[in-house]
Amino acid sequence: MAPPAPSAYHRLNPLTKAVAATVESLGAFVIGGYLGPLAIIGLAILPAAVLAGVAGRLVRISALLTLPIAISVVLVSVFTRAGATVLFAIGPFDATLEGVDFAGQTLVRLFAISTSIGLFGLTTEPRSFVLDLERRSLSPRFAFVALATLEAVPAMVERSSVIASAQRARGLDTEGSVRARLRGLLPLVGPVILSSLTEVEERSLALEVRAFGRPGRRQLLWRLPDSRLQLIARLLMLAALLAAIAMRVAGTFPRLP
């Protein structure tokens, strides 16, 4: 069903990779500070990425995605956060040490979240993930919604470009200034949304004819490999996360730089 997976990490069961991503992201900010997220990135995420052969792409993409937020973080935290030690000042805005510290920690945390989820995205076929979940007793209806959304989103984009070409042929302006594009957007949005919606009726009838409404599980054609080792790994990761959360809530978590 899927093309041959390039690396051992790719071949891991999708649930394992999903649990890893979740534990890594949540862990990064439960632990907090600098050491925590950096350790997670350095000891868990990057090695896995190198093993999977996607390290370069991962870092590049995550950096790109985190960049716009980074700018805002600097603005919000560095310059306007109340703090005691002022480092320097630009006009009425003081850059405080506390602000820089907070900004640094937030950035590191955001990068951890971005890379952990990015790693999952780069090494997992979304369809396999959903179908594996269905095999683990996720309702076929949930699986349908997830899988159908996977197709619906690109399909709607394609439909928009088809309608856009038709409208361009009729003289509608789609390039140019923001105002022009906005005006061009409106007559596009309407037909795309409406035509997608009106199809729902016939599509649901066609599905019901193919026994979609039947309650109960299906025998799926696919089976993704899983192993005891991975099961244990997943449980251990979740246990570690829960322990960290419990300690954080109880206030007994050690202070880390």
Partner: protein, 359 residues
């Protein structure tokens, strides 16, 4: 009919009981950050309490229904095949509109809940809530680039609330088009809207925003420092926006003669306020209050004025969310008007939402 009111009340009461108990058990809501991690401990617990309260409310509702009718029809009927087919389309609308609008306009108008609200109105609150949750989770965990968003997942709670609110308003008929209303009724409707907005504005907004160094219009106490020009400008901008929105609504009412617009306006406003309250702690806790858009400047400004991060985010949210949600509600109102009656009526809540056909 009374049976379903009883169920809803039980669910809502259960929700609030758990919410209040939960907040009291976990201490007061303290938005000051932990100096070590920048985390706002209370934000975590508030969100957890909200989720638990929601679940308990839902269970209470279902249990009451089971006690009444031995079945869960009002919940399961919201999920017929038509709804299941609609949900992915709704999610796709959310994502594509959300990304396109955010890219084209640089203002905090996201318009990324249109699908959620549509499902809520057509199929029911629980279907809407589920659509919202799935939309955000799928956006982060399932969709590959370029439709992927790393940041959507934690906000699924807000999406759930939006779906619920939209579904409830739909069931109550707030999205019905009421054309050819008499001038008198339009005037009454308009007056009610203005009154409600004024009350919320004067007794809710102004005091909230006037703490610390921000004074918008309040007369200065003797000896108090002059307010920063920045905040005076901000105050005027907010005032103009608010007045402009109300004037716009009144114009819409009298030009289109459709009283439904007033209902939609109020519903959107309420939804926006609730959404702002729920999304503020999530944004603060998970992302340090930052979204990568122009609104971060506002957050920075409020922080400068003395609010802590959590409050600043909330202050920003209460300005942008009601606008976003009201606009979105109107878009959904327009879509519902454009869909054929026959199509809408086949959905579980369609007839209630749009009104029965004449003849």
């Amino acid at each position: 009919m009374t049976q379903s009111w009883v169920r809803s009340i039980v669910g809502i009461v259960a929700f609030f009981v758990v919410l209040i108990v939960g907040i009291n058990l976990t201490g007061s809501i303290d938005f000051t950050p932990d100096p070590n991690t920048g985390l706002i401990a209370a934000g975590n617990t508030l969100v957890t309490v909200l989720i638990v309260a929601m679940l308990v409310g839902l269970v209470a509702y279902a249990a009451t229904e089971y006690g009444q009718t031995r079945r869960f029809d009002s919940i399961t009927s919201q999920f017929d095949t038509r709804t299941i087919v609609l949900i992915p389309i709704a999610i796709a609308i959310n994502i594509i509109l959300g990304q396109t609008v955010a890219a084209v306009l640089k203002v905090p108008i996201y318009l990324d809940s249109i699908g959620t609200i549509l499902v809520g109105v057509l199929a029911g609150p629980i279907a809407g809530a589920l659509t919202g949750a799935l939309a955000n989770l799928i956006w982060t965990y399932v969709l590959p680039a370029p439709f992927h968003s790393d940041y959507a997942a934690p906000f699924f709670i807000v999406a759930v609330e939006i779906g619920l609110v939209a579904g409830i308003f739909g069931r109550l008929g707030f999205f019905r088009s009421r054309p050819n209303t008499s001038i008198e009724r339009l005037a009454v409707g308009g007056a009610i809207v203005v009154a409600i907005v004024a009350i919320i504005g004067i007794y809710g907004f102004l005091p909230f925003y006037s703490g610390g160094d921000i004074t918008f219009f309040a007369p200065q106490a003797a000896g108090a420092p002059a307010p920063d020009t920045l905040f005076v400008i901000l105050g005027w901008v907010v005032g103009v926006l608010l007045v402009g929105a109300v004037v716009g609504l009144l114009a819409l009412l009298f030009v289109r003669r459709d009283l439904g617009a007033a209902y939609v306006f109020l519903a959107g406003l309420l939804c926006g306020i609730v959404s702002a309250v729920i999304s503020a702690p999530i944004s603060t806790v998970f992302f340090g209050g930052v979204t990568g858009s122009g609104t971060d400047l506002l957050v920075a400004t409020f922080q400068k004025a003395g609010s802590d991060l959590g409050t600043a985010v909330l202050q920003q949210g209460l300005l942008s969310d009601p606008i976003d949600k009201t606009l979105t509600f109107f878009v959904v109102f327009a879509i519902l008007g454009a869909l054929s009656r026959r199509f809408v009526a086949r959905f579980p809540q369609g007839e209630k939402a749009v009104g029965l056909m004449e003849g």
